[in-house]
Assembly symmetry: D2
């Protein structure tokens, strides 16, 4: 498919699906999120030659939220190795919601790094090293995977998250009690809330997606950002666990690894083909972008991206 | 039974059971508790005429710990009324351990005020009023129920509890997330740790026990300390829920309302007959004093105290 | 209180409470139960001298249902001893509904003999002996505790129960899988459905209640029907576990051991004072007779029967 | 890769991995399974041109067991449509063992068709139609997907399964109680035990695998056996849920849809590339063939079959 054709297809799909935002609701558990215009929409694809296809509000900035989970998982494995990471967090899907405490009872090791409990445990592993403190380590990694030297941080969202985070705090102290988290719980939580509050646009996430799709190599500058094995692992975890209690049905329908965030973004790498990212702040019951899901469904069909 | 005879019986039972401390273990989750001599033992009974029978180390001071739960339950009902209290906490036994999070999942209202989750929720209800701040309110109530103007507070135990309280912190934030607790969680926890760290001896607890047994009236000075209906309610909750996952078997064997604490004390009021308190720091698997349980078993049989 | 006075009190209470049947609903999971007149009501008390006080429809016959549970518990202990029984069933309350499977998961031993899982396990222990087959053993025991040589059996109810018993069947096979039940599951279930289908009236149940209250001795003929220790054990289990997810609140409000059945009867022995039985087919949400509960509440207050 | 090379590779891998059977244990919950020689091993691949590669004991017959689950899922969708099927069973992974009852509590609809509860519910949907009774419908479908007119049935295994199936029976009655299963439970169970007792060899399963890999078309005779959309759905469900509590880690390591059975077989279709089947009766803790898993790991790496 020629570049022009792909851009036209993306444009068509976006226009066709944009009104489905009316079937969802913008997140409103913190004021900073609820203020967004519900009909924003964007889609970006980057192919393995580094060519990018951008439609809609692709440079609109939103907070990364849960899309940070697969990225910090990659970082943690790079920093500490698989063994240290998977001693504390499993890789099995749970069929449950993002903030579930159910499966921890009687089995305190979080089932996977895509649910909050697992992601907090992963973040708690990122520790100061010679190249800086834990916040800087994440920031620098985000700059690399977004190919963007100006990654900013949303102070207002961070503070709101921190103030309303009773469930996450409960999860974190539960993990501490079971020695899944060592060290200071509040510091780990603070780092987790910060990690979720970085500002990204759909192009940034598409770049990270392209790196994951291209086996860890940035298709634009050729740099190895993530080891091949880690990129494969992260894609696999996203496929089985990335969409919470819709992971199974998403695998059937779309067949692409994906991770969504409550701001409305979705990261969706297709191995050896495309880094995809979609955006639309209106969410379905499971917390996934309505417009984003619809675009992915259509793209999967049109471009035969279903991998399974 | 004459006073002398009862004292002799108590003495005999204590001597007969004291070596059973070897079948248990002193709590060691905080250093302050682990230092105690394991073979301490005491039993105090106060009858409805105010006469007291004291044997063993009855004036040895220990921290009240979970024995504070039924007392603060009484206080909370007196301060706020039954409705406000039981909107937040149930009265059903759970058959589970003291720090269980199991039954909260899918049913966030704590089952009863004798498990940690319920007790923390109850404590969070005690608020500053015209007679002082929440700590003072509890202190003054304790002074009354112990008939003791010099109730002291163990700073070291309080600080240790506070530092190692990850599970309780997890429970409290879970309750906050489900709006069982309103207000500041850390303040509620702080008050809860303080409430558990008051220093009492077996005579103090026997006095509180006698007040509960005597329908709320202090048999020594005749004062009404707790309304009759509240005393009855507290005794009933202790009978069905007071001994955690042994509540049912204790009701069968001993048949007396009881509440134990991790320091080794037990409060056991027998309506219209005796305020009983026993002590021995060595604990069985369920966290109840081994020597204390054995004394209560024997007393129940010898004096026909089984109520059911 | 003179006999006449007590009869008048009972009459007054019944008349006063009878209309509360409108606040509940007759069980309708099988047709045989749903056909009953909802405003039937009865109360019988038998004192420790064998005197009885009967008001309302005290000779109306209904199927015993769950009231058989404490009686067959007594029988099983008499037949096999405490150890054999409590190896298979615990004595801890669960705070859950009668047919819960929750607490079995991860803990297959039923928590107590008052929930269906526990009762089925208990029934499975009754085995043919020299005096007859398992059905005959139960029948003969029922004849003794009801002081009634003509205990009948409701074939229609038995067959209906058997046909609609999917949940109980699921529980029973779960218990078999975990070796709580040995032997043939369908035979045990069959015996359980039969045990629940014996026809009793309020006087029959009051007689059983009086025997339990009188430490196992029938106050009318002086016979020892149940060993004293077993009667005490059964009363205690009823107090902590007899009213399902209302056991705790019933202990607070009424303070008497009790066991209800879905036909609307309640067995309520008050140690050394009265064998009480009440009846009214209209049930509250927890499956307890609305009129029966109201009569017990009032009686407990008027006659100071609260034991705790 | 030439045919000869692929055969040599398969042979090498088999020889290299065959001794790993010592790290597992043959299933022994029924005698019929426990008698098998533990060091049997086989691997068969069929490519999309219908060429087959067979090594080891590829014509050794064993009972299909849980490998029937994805096949009967396909059949049920073909017979009744997606809507009727997924009204009764979900498609979300659970992270739990094959016979778990955990996730049913509070959520009676089975999470997915690869766990026993879900598979039993699916089987209960297969009903007599014009082409025969439910057993014949399954038999005929199996003959087609195995490309084998002589599919036999192991009477001994069927009878053993039926006799020892207390857990499955418990699950089935639970489903019946929640109206997930309608109709006669014992008939559904009987059909399920029969479906699990068909005798297959590794070549049979490889043929079914090839059909699933080839989008529903049999690569050997070109017939459409399963609609393309259904084949895709079944592969996707296998990828997220096929390996019980190892589904997530298998997706990471091997990245191929797979379904294992307790006899030691595994069905593993790789879309547009190969129908794979492996066999070895010695099982790991999760019930998957040790030798089979090792062969799949190695094959995935050597032939770059990881799909995600």
């Amino acid at each position: 498919m020629s570049n022009t054709k792909l851009n036209i297809l993306l444009e068509d799909i976006l226009n066709n699906k944009i009104n489905s935002y009316k079937n969802g609701k913008v997140a409103n558990y913190i004021p900073a999120l609820s203020k967004v215009k519900p009909d924003l929409a964007a889609a970006v694809m980057i192919d393995m030659s580094g060519e990018s296809y951008k439609v809609g509000d692709w440079n609109y900035k939103y907070t990364i939220q849960s899309i940070s989970k697969p990225l910090v998982l990659a970082l943690a494995i790079m920093e500490l190795g698989e063994e240290a990471v998977f001693k504390r967090v499993g890789v099995e899907p749970t069929g449950e919601e993002f903030n579930s405490i159910n499966k921890l009872v009687g089995h305190p090791k979080p089932f996977n790094p895509m649910i909050n409990a697992g992601a907090i445990a992963i973040t708690s592993l990122i520790r100061e090293n010679k190249s800086g403190n834990s916040f800087d380590i994440i920031l620098k990694f985000f700059e690399k995977v977004f190919g963007n030297k100006d990654v900013e941080f949303d102070e207002e969202v961070y503070k709101s998250e921190k103030m309303t985070a009773d469930r996450n705090r409960s999860l974190a102290y539960f993990l501490k009690d079971h020695r899944i988290i060592s060290g200071d719980v509040e510091k780990s939580l603070d780092l987790y809330f910060k990690q979720c509050s970085f500002k990204v646009d759909t192009l940034d996430i598409a770049r990270a997606s392209a790196i994951l799709a291209n086996n860890g190599f940035d298709p634009i500058n050729g740099n190895e950002v993530i080891p091949e094995k880690v990129a494969s692992l992260v894609r696999s975890v996203m496929l089985t666990c990335g969409m919470y209690d819709r992971s199974g049905s998403f695998a059937i329908e779309v067949g692409i690894p994906a991770k969504s965030g409550v701001s409305g973004g979705i990261l969706a790498p297709v191995k050896n083909r495309f880094g995809i990212s979609v955006f639309g702040p209106s969410l379905d019951n499971s917390g996934n972008s309505v417009v984003g899901m619809n675009i992915l469904r259509k793209l999967s069909k049109e471009l035969s991206l279903h991998m399974i």
